[in-house]
Symmetry: C2
Subunit: 233 residues, 2 copies
Amino acid sequence: MQHHSHPHKEEHLTSSQFITDVVIGMSDGLTVPFALSAGLSGAVASTNIVTTAGIAEIVAGSIAMGLGGYLAGKTEQEHYAAELKREYWEVEHLPEREKAEIREIFAEWGLSPHSQELVVEELAKDKDKWVDFMMRYELGLEKPDVNRARKSALTIGLSYAIGGIIPLTPYFFAQDALHGLMYSCAVTLLCLFAFGYFKSKMTGQPPVWGAVKVTLIGTLAAAAAFAVAHFIE
Amino acid sequence: MQHHSHPHKEEHLTSSQFITDVVIGMSDGLTVPFALSAGLSGAVASTNIVTTAGIAEIVAGSIAMGLGGYLAGKTEQEHYAAELKREYWEVEHLPEREKAEIREIFAEWGLSPHSQELVVEELAKDKDKWVDFMMRYELGLEKPDVNRARKSALTIGLSYAIGGIIPLTPYFFAQDALHGLMYSCAVTLLCLFAFGYFKSKMTGQPPVWGAVKVTLIGTLAAAAAFAVAHFIE
């Protein structure tokens, strides 16, 4: 997939699609079930209800996110295939219009009419390269990985579930919901901090600031859910 | 933002960032609180617990998704600014290496060495255009909209909340959780179908098939949450 080597590019690629999917699933998995169970702890005393709601949420969330990821990947593939077909048709049947489009792109870059002409003619010699150029530089579409949709679904769904089990676990052992909440906060905020740190490292962001941001979102969501549930109950 | 007109491009742009954000927020908002409340209905009889849990989930989910969207937008901006600075530095201090990189890109397209040379020299005349070229075609980065992060956060968060209130509303009026579930299913599956139809239309996918897929995800998530919660309670 990587066509030209370059020091930046290499760095960007360390955050692979797998890591991205784990991050997507886990950041929501750690946050939403944590905040939901915190919210319920502010309204009911029984840990039983908190764990039941928590597990229902994890099941719902991992299916919604996992299948959501799967369908998004599928749609991306279908979209690419449809556009590819259309570009081949256009290159075949409306070559002059397509050439004019390439010239426009080159004109934007500041190329002289002479160079525009030269480049267009060379590019148009090979139809596959021509279409590839139109796909990438005119439509901004990269060829999606065929297995990506299925892998993505599994990774996002599982990461959500793993992330969600962490804040829920203390409630299984605590004597009441408020004690569960206390331990859940301790464990989850620690995990959110570590997760935020790791995630920021992977994407080349300042890690401590990234960790603080992720932890703050979780805290805010949990505090708000607790306050609202406590108020309405 | 649109540099060259083209019939495809126009079509793609109808699904604007705002619509994308509404879709992101609402598809999860309709699905997860729906499935969570369905799950709880399988385990507890009181609609009170279902609505409390549902509201806690909506608060948690909209904050997590909204702030998540905000931070993702911010990170994208910081990333762009950092890469832009680096490219300017490289164009200034390592022009020959940067030129070689452009030549490599052109070589991939099948341009002759003569045209490569010509194009590189013309491109390198204007430093801003040169850097813009490197940003877009070497790194694949588009300049992010400065206000996007804030708008995105609000839109995603609100869409999640609006989506989530729909499946929850019937439980406020129903005599018990199972009756609530019945009405919630009717209302939500209808909304999911309409939402899926609309979303697929906007993104140029087959609308009925898109509507069926979205509705199926919601049904599956709700059925699984119901089964699991019923089993563990």
